[in-house]
Symmetry: C2
Subunit: 402 residues, 2 copies
């Protein structure tokens, strides 16, 4: 059985943690100086473990093995949210290095901007599967609207470079190791999650238009209060979603804004709701969409305001490959006994994009307290070491076709 | 019976409309160049109608009559919201000029900053009744936090001037003419509103604290969603307020904010609600307060979040003086036949502050379309002319003690 150098794996993770360090986490927004330093660091590490590494025109760091096939692709992303944890993304990339060091036939990739600092999102993994056009790149700006993607790439020294696409014939599949970003494993004292699939995320905007008016001069019977209609609509969703959801569905009203949003004295003339729901089942997603549309329609029947539902994003659910799941489950059983489970991923990941070209799978390790996207995010060294052992064994099994 | 020079009254209003003109309205924020130009213009107009006018240390423009008593105080404010209508405030000040011109024994005052461009609010009418300390002035900043009140006064050339206080013994009462800022009069084709009282405005902040989490990784059963608790709390208020309110109560959720308020992916960890309710009856206000407190308490019993209710402002309702109401009603009957009504004021006015020292009353004229605090605010010349006739007759009757 393949042996992983656990200490070298942890040493790499701790070295990467120093680049863009923020408190106990990191701050490496895509194409920032810290992010680019980490990408060049990664190219150097790839050379050490026998991979031919380079950075392409979207910032993807791609390292190719010279070993004979069959080959697995392993990776994740290396940039972070602005004040984020040290493991999210970085773990799956450094895991690839550890597997290459152990002698497994793996290519390793760090995809650019999984964290969506730039409009469009997942631009690295989309680029590598041929799902990012030059025109989309021309149009993309940073989330804070301060910089175009083209300017950011130029500042990072990446302008004019070719963009690599993966050759599906080269790989048997894609493995992504990741922190759970939830507390399901911790709550049940489990060490490994073998991911069954990645949820579809359907995000929506609901704009409610009414009439801005004086909060004292306008009687209750006359009002066209956009804020009140938004509240009633959200209360209706709170009633109806539990009746149509699946056992692991999530739904979240992430933001509500009232205009003008004065602290006192003015009836809101406009409200905007940003909400999302997630599930692994298309049937459940479609039921929830129908329920949402019905609630908006009912709002327009009852209220003196006009609510408009708009789809912001509809990412499709991805089912992980059954043979890869079996290899991960077998390895988990071997290394972790009963301390593992099958589970869906409630978050989106690069694997979702790669699934357009390759069979994919994911392995989760516990997040302490379930924290993610925050600098306090953490996982114990023991759990990280167990995770990399499970991943290596699974990749070995899978590539051997056993 | 007293005769008003209606044309001179309208000429004054139209002349004032030119100062800080914005589209068909005006923009005269307190202590701006346009506002100060209007105050100096007013001092000149006061001289023309036999009043000794001056500007004091808070910007109040005060004009004293030399006629023998009994004397009425007449006025309102002259500054405006940033892009506002031409009549709000200005009408009540120019009405005072018209009454002085007609030979009535009136002092006229334009109170500074009824529109609350500076923290604290109503600083002019509060100053004149002795309810604004030097320490409060030291602490006050502009609503946009860009300027201290002291700096604004210095820039306007008012630093170091004494602040005038009214001598209650000098006056029989205070009259304020104002646009309705609602559509009750227009809806019933009425021309005059005799104000029975000014509502109390009780404004609140409710902060809901939960736990910010990943919207995919955190199951519905685990969440402590501050946004959802805020929605449920507001939906509960929408159920309970109609059961405890009075016939003319209003309640408004003016703003809701979620933190971090991401468009997607993050469960809100904190929400803040800004709401207010208004009524003329203390009993109703107290019932609504009790209902609000109970809903917050019930939220804390049911939810996994912590809601905290805080009072932001509690202005007390003011009942207009019955003898002044009778004089206004008699004059309305005389000039407008049946086209008038008694009605409460849903908005706050300087009269509310002056009520601490003097009997007060107000007269409303229709707002076209109910619009106020917007540059399209308007009232027909005919309605303005009728209103000033009613006011003049009422003041004459009241001062004569008939």
């Amino acid at each position: 059985m393949v042996q992983v150098d656990t200490q070298a794996f942890l040493d790499d993770l701790y070295a990467l943690r120093q680049i863009g360090a923020f408190k106990t986490g990191v701050s490496r927004p895509t194409y920032s100086a810290a992010d680019m330093e980490s990408r060049h660091w990664l190219v150097d590490r790839m050379a050490e473990v026998g991979l031919a590494g380079s950075i392409d025109g979207i910032g993807n760091v791609f390292g190719k093995t010279s070993r004979p096939g069959p080959i697995a692709l392993v990776g994740s992303h290396i940039e972070s949210q602005i004040e984020a944890g040290w493991l999210d993304g970085a773990l799956g990339v450094v895991a690839g290095l550890a597997l290459a060091r152990s002698g497994l036939a793996v290519d390793v990739c760090a995809f650019a901007d999984e964290e969506s600092h730039f409009e469009g999102g997942y631009i690295g993994s989309r680029s590598i599967v041929g799902d990012l056009s030059e025109a989309q790149m021309d149009a993309s700006r940073s989330r804070d609207r301060q910089q175009t993607l083209r300017d950011a790439l130029a500042s990072a020294g990446l302008a004019g470079r070719e963009r690599v696409q993966i050759d599906p014939a080269r790989y048997r599949g894609f493995f992504e190791m990741h922190i759970e970003q939830g507390s399901q494993l911790e709550k049940d004292a489990l060490k490994i999650g073998v991911v069954s699939g990645i949820v579809g995320i359907w995000a929506w905007s609901i704009v409610v238009e009414g009439q801005q008016d004086h909060a004292g001069g306008t009687t209750m019977a006359e009002r066209r209060d956009a804020g009140l209609s938004a509240v009633r609509l959200l209360a209706a969703l709170d009633e109806v979603f539990p009746k149509v959801c699946g056992p692991r569905s999530t739904w979240t009203t992430c933001n509500v804004t009232f205009e003008p949003g004065a602290p006192v004295g003015i009836i809101p003339g406009r409200a905007e709701i940003r909400l999302e729901f997630r599930d692994q089942s298309m049937a459940v997603l479609e039921r929830m969409e129908a329920a949402l549309a019905a609630v908006v329609q009912e709002s327009n029947r009852r209220e003196r305001t006009k609510a408009t539902l708009q789809s912001v994003n509809k990412s499709m659910p991805v089912i992980c490959d059954s043979e890869m799941i079996a290899a991960l489950a077998k390895a988990a059983q071997h290394h972790a006994g009963t301390e593992w489970q099958h589970m869906p991923s409630g978050a989106g990941h690069d694997a979702k994009m790669i699934a357009k070209k390759l069979p994919v799978s994911m392995l989760f390790v516990p997040s302490i307290g379930g924290v993610s996207h925050h600098w306090t995010e953490d996982t114990s060294d023991e759990d990280l070491a167990l995770g990399i052992q499970v991943l290596a064994s699974a990749v070995e099994t899978y590539l051997a076709g056993r």
